[in-house]
Symmetry: C2
């Protein structure tokens, strides 16, 4: 039943592509001995042949045009690692599927947008589409959701799935440095995508969450349904104040299905220090899954990097050779009888920070607005700032976000704020 030999072509030879070549070379015999499958690298392609790389690419057939590879009769499976730079990846994948080739891709942004149409085409052409490397590098979370947890009713999935943001927040906290300072360092280290909004704007997390959420709940892929907020407004002061009341700040991706409402959200959250999620530092990823039967299961590991991501790509190649594949994006909402929670009706407590003009009556007016939106204050403190300003920090009792947003709008209209108020949800996990 298995096709014991698979001819592989790799398009895109950055960190991950080079890692796949290395891994295939090093583990070829091991893979053959343990699975009976032979993975043969028959062609490669990238933008620039002459670029300095950590691997010797001379033994492999170089094909300059990715589209030509997608049509090559000798190729069984295309490993697409071009990324989201232009329209090439989309074209290559479609062309390859149309030519009867299986696809392995790590392209989360493309999948989050076009996963369903790719899968429809793949089904028509009877080829496999796999993407373990697209989410959380070395953690086999796609396979776990597709295979092992398929018999569960999952109620919640949450985690830290963007290593760059977690690196920045961890470093701010550890070294007491400001966001802009640590962000520049991350950029210099090459940790930030060429469009930084993808990372720090939470968009990359949103892409990944959309993929996970559709697997976990059996719904259609709904990237637009992910409410997305980034980390660039988080100040070291917020991190310090959170610390004082027992929390850390993490960029949390959450998908929750409760009371027939599906909620998908990426945003900074205050998370209790002793939670496993709060203890994940640097570029490590962590994903927790709460299910009706399984309770809470937690997976953590490197979120990116050559080795982990390449390992996921090659495990997909082995799965394809073993004729294993699952439909994921095509179920649509047919098994989903709930609604999507666009307005985020969940009740939560919030951390708020205001920079105010330090004048008599300011706090009375601000807290009046909170009160009239039904928001009551739990803890509050005021700290003086130079130039007749003051910082006001508080946590609220539980309220729905809609009420909070109304209150913050009303407060802004009072013209007492020196900058946009910061609000971060407190997530009790």
């Amino acid at each position: 039943m298995n096709k014991s030999k698979l001819n592989v072509a790799i398009i895109g030879l950055g960190t991950v592509g080079s890692g796949v070549i290395k891994l295939l070379k090093r583990q070829k015999n091991n893979i053959k001995n343990r699975t009976g499958i032979e993975l043969e690298l028959v062609a490669i392609s990238a933008k620039n042949k002459r670029k300095k790389r950590s691997i010797d690419i001379s033994p492999y057939r170089w094909i300059a045009s990715p589209i030509t590879i997608a049509r090559d009769p000798d190729v069984d499976v295309i490993v697409e690692l071009i990324g989201d730079m232009d329209n090439t990846a989309r074209k290559v994948i479609k062309e390859a599927i149309n030519n009867g080739k299986h696809i392995v891709t790590a392209n989360k942004s493309l999948l989050a947008k076009e996963g369903s149409s790719f899968e429809e085409l793949a089904k028509k052409k009877s080829v496999f589409l796999r993407y373990e490397a697209a989410v959380a590098g070395g953690i086999p979370i796609i396979k776990v959701l597709q295979d092992s947890l398929i018999v569960n009713k999952i109620s919640k999935l949450y985690g830290v799935i963007n290593g760059t943001c977690n690196f920045i927040l961890t470093k701010m906290e550890a070294e007491g440095r400001e966001y802009t300072d640590v962000f520049s360092e991350a950029q210099q280290l090459g940790y930030v995508e060429s469009d930084p909004r993808l990372d720090i704007g939470g968009i990359d997390s949103a892409h990944k969450l959309a993929l996970l959420s559709c697997l976990a709940f059996g719904t259609s892929l709904d990237l637009k349904g992910v409410k997305t907020e980034g980390i660039d407004h988080i100040s070291i002061e917020d991190i310090d104040e959170a610390h004082l009341i027992g929390y850390k700040i993490k960029l949390l991706a959450t998908a929750e299905y409760q009371k027939k409402l599906l909620r998908q959200e990426v945003s900074p959250k205050l998370i209790r220090k002793d939670s496993p999620i709060a203890q994940v530092n640097g570029s490590t990823n962590i994903i927790a899954i709460e299910g009706e039967e399984i309770g809470t299961t937690i997976f953590s590991g490197p979120g990116a990097g050559m080795g982990p991501t390449a390992s996921s790509v090659v495990s997909d190649l082995v799965a394809i050779a073993s004729r294993k594949s699952k439909s994921t994006f095509l179920n649509g909402d047919k098994n989903f009888s709930g609604k999507r929670d666009k307005t985020l009706t969940k009740e939560s407590s919030f951390y708020l920070r205001f920079v105010l003009k330090d004048k008599p009556g300011v706090i009375a007016r601000l807290s009046g607005k909170l009160g009239s939106c039904g928001i009551s204050i739990n803890q509050m403190k005021q700290k003086p700032l130079p130039k007749q300003k003051a910082t006001l920090i508080m946590t609220t009792h539980k309220t729905v976000r809609k009420n909070l947003e109304k209150a913050l709008n009303d407060i802004r209209r009072l013209k007492i704020c020196e900058q946009r108020p910061v609000s971060i949800e407190i997530e009790e996990i």
Copy 2:
């Protein structure tokens, strides 16, 4: 390619068996919608039909003899949940395989002993043998090792995989109570197997480690190669002293393959408080895997319980219906060029506790024996005890266990110890 309907028989209707019936009933439509597979429960069997159960078994065909079920032509797959009480499970599995039936079992002790012979027979009869529920309840660790990490060279696998021991150690620490006291409580709560040595003697962990280790390293199943030590000699004093120097005590299962030496070991270890392993409390299981490519990936979740274990059983049924199976026990050592480390040549630091006669010269004689075995002391403290006795607690610098064991034997022969010295390895993970 898939057989879309599978006729299932369950033998053994304890917690897990009842959980599987519940789950099949509740999730039948969900499973069918999401995987296209229909799981039909066609027969059940257990020791006592009239026993009070949390489920209504009247809708299902009752067959008193498990062997009769194993021969029933209407049954495609046997879910064996009898446990290790007598020889029945072994006989039923062999008979069922001989009659062309697939097997799903949670029977780790039986698998650790007979896995290879079962698999040989299953291969001959072209049926599948699956056992996700045998290790770490709700964590899909078997599938992760078989599928996702197969392309890795794993160097180390370690974790806490016996919930009962972890419950006892966690409770001792949290409540400052002695081992015997908490052990009795665990027994009253029904957490301890009828033969308590299985849990507290580390044997259950050894069974599970043998299964994981053969999957991780591609070696033959080698239960006898697991050096096994339990927790019944751990005192609250050890836990308190470990705490003072920044450690917790956990029953750790470790399989490590380094420098062509394979080491398999279950024993209490001192583990740094801030390690994820140390933070796993109660009956939760945790397993960490270090691989050449993936770095460290960590999986945690409920180690037992009706829901998680039943979920793993049913995911195996879905996998069988999807014609997925892997050979695990049959590779033997053909991909393994190393040796087995029977003498544990690894270098470690150790925590030692002696109860000594409080007489002049005692410490000099004791430390002399350590010194002559090449063991040097890192930290040391002495505390007086009533009746002219004293407790001596120390940590050593790195040494091999062989040297330590020689030194402890020499010290015992000095007749200065009031009880057997306690030694616990310090594992820096």
